[in-house]
């Protein structure tokens, strides 16, 4: 079952394309994150699904129904698309109490007073805000405001919930808690969620699917594991992972990889290119004290303790890279070390297009 289907959606302002020919299927019960840097078109996409923004081109289906079509001139208003939306600023109405905020959608549906009372009370209990019904938004903490925003949308029981960076205004600790509670809410209600964020960690931790966007185009749409392990492009590899992904250019000579003047590893496949870019995450290389055939020489630049592990910043030739090492590892500045790749975690990209190439690499 597909809940949201985007077909060739485009949207631009004064000649600049914010979203460019985007197609995407979001299954029922999925938690799909639109991930990308600011200006990549993710919020615009979300607002087009909501009906707050009209695409210039393309079609949108929600729950199997065509809600927008540029060529057929169909444009169903937001309220009739059967969805809820949580805004980055929460957009709570400051002149209404928590109760009135949450009741608003039910009042629009012209439910009876009793029904409204009942449902609002139940939802407020669900988000653990009982007893705060008669407060005004300004009298609540950031986390409580966020939960009111959630309650206001789930009270009308939408089958599709859109969230626009709902956690970005919270401090780190609260953000972690709210991630857990949003994820639990998703599991309990089995609602389809489309979630916008620029925080790759948030995307990886919460989603069942991630759509990575760049300059209005879809770079990759896959499970979090696949996005992390097999990024479809250099852009995706760069944007995901913490603190950063390392890239090294290599020459291909007779099925071997040559970095600088050192041969390392093998590359298999037909019609091999002359040059490739290799990517490896900080944890995909181990530090060795002496040179072996499967290692690259490097010098230590600086060491940072990040709690569970140590980040070692190194120079490989004139390339900067980060290696994650065990806690307790000690290195001096300018120390000579050797790096041994875990070839299963290395990806190959075209240096020109930045797309992932399907060649296998090994030691």
């Amino acid at each position: 079952m597909v809940t949201v289907r985007l077909v060739g959606i485009s949207k631009g302002w004064s000649g600049v394309k914010a979203v460019d020919n985007l197609s995407l299927d979001i299954g029922k019960g999925d938690f799909v994150t639109l991930l990308g840097p600011s200006g990549c078109g993710k919020t615009t996409t979300l607002r087009m699904i909501a009906g707050l923004e009209d695409p210039d081109d393309g079609e949108i289906y929600i729950h199997g129904k065509l809600v927008f079509s540029a060529s057929k001139g169909i444009n169903v208003p937001p309220a009739q698309r059967g969805l809820g939306m949580i805004f980055q600023s929460y957009a709570l109405w400051p002149h209404m109490t928590v109760f009135d905020n949450v009741a608003f959608g039910l009042v629009q549906q012209k439910l009876s007073k009793d029904q409204i009372n009942q449902r609002v009370t139940r939802v407020l209990a669900d988000v653990e805000l009982e007893g705060l019904a008669h407060r005004y938004p300004s009298e609540l903490s950031g986390g409580q405001q966020q939960r009111v925003a959630v309650a206001r949308m789930i009270v009308v029981s939408p089958e599709l919930l859109l969230m626009d960076e709902p956690l970005s205004n919270l401090d780190t600790r609260l953000r972690m808690q709210m991630r857990a509670s949003l994820k639990r809410m998703h599991q309990e209600t089995n609602t389809t969620v489309v979630y916008v964020t620029h925080d790759q960690e948030e995307a990886l931790t919460m989603s069942t699917g991630i759509a990575v966007m760049n300059k209005g185009k879809l770079e990759q749409y896959a499970s979090p594991e696949e996005v992390y392990e097999r990024p479809a492009s250099k852009f995706v590899a760069e944007f995901t992972g913490n603190p950063q992904t390392n890239f090294i250019d290599a020459e291909v000579v007779d099925g071997r990889l040559k970095i600088g003047d050192r041969f390392i590893g093998h590359i298999d496949g037909d019609a091999l290119p002359n040059a490739v870019t290799l990517s490896f995450r900080p944890e995909a290389m181990s530090i060795r004290q002496e040179s072996t055939p499967n290692t690259l020489p490097a010098t230590v630049y600086a060491t940072l303790l990040v709690g569970a592990s140590v980040l070692v910043y190194v120079h490989i030739g004139n390339i900067e890279a980060v290696i994650r090492a065990e806690r307790g590892s000690k290195f001096r500045g300018n120390q000579e070390i050797w790096l041994e790749p875990d070839w299963t975690q290395v990806n190959v990209y075209s240096p020109t297009t930045g797309r992932r190439l399907d060649y296998a690499v090994r030691g």
Partner: protein, 602 residues
């Protein structure tokens, strides 16, 4: 894809949005109320009017093209007397007025904002009072103080108590006009400049001080450039307002045959010489237009200052030391002299039975509650039992309330449209056009509406002589104030607040009623109160438009001033002032808004 088709579809989609329809609607209305009158004004100067049939030696055909009016107004003795002399007078009076507005406004603003002066709150409150008084209160009380037998008038207070007869130049003419008009208009200068001064982070000045700059250098290179836009705006508004003011130059100028453009326009139109009067109106408009152009250039620079004071502004106050109390007392005395004493004089005068006799035995309530007595003011009963006066007072209140509410609401809706589609051409146009009336001198604006609504035009009936016309001219003229407060209060409401309601299925009207209006109520009230005050004490705007059936208090008062019923008209002025004060404070107490916020202080 076909680019044209996309564009068409985008356009079609936009037209389904209420804000687009509203924008178009307002644009059409505003063009009719603001732009069309300008054309008909020009047209009137180029055709023969009904009043021109008296002219001999010309082939007068009413409605036919002629350059007669322009020829006559541009050269010759008539032009000298009716155009060039009043123009010169206007420029002199305006320059003097603006100088006083700038001097008094900035001095007061400096004292209140940048020094530790005592009783600063009281000073601040007193400083805005003249704004709510009718503009001619000061001129009438000026006469009450200085008039004497040398100008063939009953004795004023000065002459009565000291025997000193003020010379004519102090009683009538440019000097008293400048002083009274400057002292009436300085409050908006005070508000604009103190707003700018408040926005200066004193760290900006302190950094310069640490780098070794002298006080005067800091003033010249840092403080002044930052408040320069406010000074410019003050000067521009001062020019536009004082040029278009009718009451003061009429009361203090006409008895000495000292004409300014506004009084000259009035007398030409009253003698059915619109064709020539409107040429003068165009001249006033042109001067304002030049001012607008200059201000635009300054305002664009002003935007770059807008970020100053985004964080909490620290302001270090200058210590006045042992001079503090004397300066404070002097300031308060000055403010009392400008804001309170004039009213005392007028009240006193209204209580004297025979003009010029201030003895106890001459005190009487005749002009307030007396029955008709043919020996005084041609048998007019006291104002409180006078049907004409009471009718005009009721008209004034009605006009202020109806005009204020419509104008406030229109301002809010235009604010909504502008805030929703900041980038759209329609919004920018709407904002620009709605600001034009601010720069059109009041008397000209009245003249515009006189031509526009004198006859039926298409679906628009002839409104001359109706209450509706007064409402219309009030709304159009005061719209800049409510649009300004409407735009700023709508911009403060994040678009997401409305979108959340869209998602939850609220219609446009439901959103407006439940979300947007409640959240912008303060801006609405502030805007409405300003219109209320302004229109109640407005004379110049209505003087050409009222008919005996539809008088307001200000125009009726002026009629009695013209025929010399001094005590009677003074009583009416006091009544009007009381009405304004009571209504303003009632609304403020009810809604708790700050008038200053709507005045354009920020």
């Amino acid at each position: 894809m076909n680019g044209l088709k996309v564009r068409f579809r985008k356009l079609a989609n936009r037209w389904r949005k209420p804000e687009t329809i509203l924008a178009a609607l307002f644009l059409v209305i505003l063009v009719y109320l603001v732009v069309v009158p300008l054309f008909s004004l020009v047209q009137t100067t180029l055709v023969w009017g009904t009043g021109d049939t008296r002219i001999r030696g010309e082939n007068v055909v009413v409605g036919k093209f002629t350059t007669y009016h322009w020829r006559r107004m541009l050269s010759g003795d008539f032009a000298e007397a009716v155009f060039y002399k009043p123009l010169l007078n206007t420029l002199i009076v305006t320059a003097g007025t603006v100088a006083i507005v700038l001097a008094v406004g900035s001095l007061l603003a400096y004292l209140v904002v940048r020094t530790d002066i005592r009783w600063a709150k009281l000073i601040n409150a007193l400083a805005t009072v003249p704004y709510i008084l009718p503009s001619w209160v000061l001129s009438l009380s000026w006469l009450q103080l200085f008039q004497n037998s040398t100008v063939a008038m009953p004795e004023g207070l000065l002459s009565y108590y000291t025997g000193i007869n003020a010379p004519e130049w102090l009683v009538y003419g440019p000097i008293p006009i400048m002083i009274t008009m400057g002292l009436h208009y300085y409050p908006f200068g005070y508000l604009l400049i103190s707003g700018a001064l408040r926005s200066i982070d004193s760290q900006l000045e302190e950094s310069a001080e640490i780098l070794g700059a002298s006080k005067s250098y800091i003033m010249r290179r840092i403080t002044m450039p930052i408040i320069k836009p406010a000074l410019f705006s003050t000067a521009l508004l001062g020019i536009a307002r004082s040029m278009g003011t009718f009451g003061t130059p009429a009361i203090l100028g006409l008895p000495a045959r000292y004409y300014t453009l506004s009084t000259q326009i009035y007398s030409l139109v009253r003698t059915q010489r619109q064709g020539q009067g409107y040429i003068l109106a165009l001249v006033l408009l042109a001067i304002s237009g030049i001012g607008l152009y200059v201000n635009q250039r300054v305002i664009s620079a002003r935007r770059s200052y807008a970020t100053i004071g985004g964080k909490g502004v620290k302001s270090r106050k200058v210590r006045l030391g042992k001079w503090n109390t004397p300066i404070a007392v002097l300031t308060i005395l000055f403010l009392l002299a400008v804001a309170v004493f004039p009213l005392v004089f007028l009240t006193w005068s209204s209580l004297t039975l025979y003009a010029g006799d201030y003895s106890i035995s001459n005190l009487s309530l005749h002009y307030w509650i007396g029955e008709s007595n043919p020996r005084f003011v041609a048998g007019e009963p006291g104002i409180l039992r006078n049907e004409a006066v009471m009718g005009a007072a009721w008209n004034t209140v009605k006009l202020a309330l109806v005009g204020g509410l419509i104008c406030g609401f229109a301002g809010l809706l235009i604010g909504y449209v502008v805030a929703r589609a900041r980038r759209a051409l329609t919004s920018r146009l709407l904002e620009q056009v709605s600001f034009v009336p601010m720069l059109v001198p009041s008397i000209v604006f009245g003249a515009l509406y006189l031509t526009l609504f004198a006859v039926r035009r298409g679906p628009v009936p002839a409104l001359y002589g109706t209450f509706a016309l007064l409402v219309l001219v009030t709304v159009a003229k005061q719209l800049p104030y409510t649009v300004r407060s409407g735009v700023s209060s709508m911009l403060q409401v994040a678009q997401e607040l409305e979108e959340a309601a869209v998602i939850l299925g609220a219609s446009w009207f439901a959103r407006l009623r439940k979300i947007m209006l409640p959240l912008t109520k303060n801006g609405f009230v502030a805007g409405t109160v300003i219109v209320l005050i302004t229109s109640m004490r407005e004379l110049s705007l209505y003087i050409l438009l009222v008919t005996p059936a539809n008088r307001v208090l200000t125009t009726l008062t002026y009629r009695y001033i013209e025929v010399g019923y001094t005590q009677f008209s003074n009583a009416m002025t006091v009544l009007l002032t009381l009405l304004v004060v009571v209504l303003t404070y009632a609304i403020n107490a009810w809604q708790k808004t700050d008038i200053g916020a709507g005045l354009g202080g920020r």
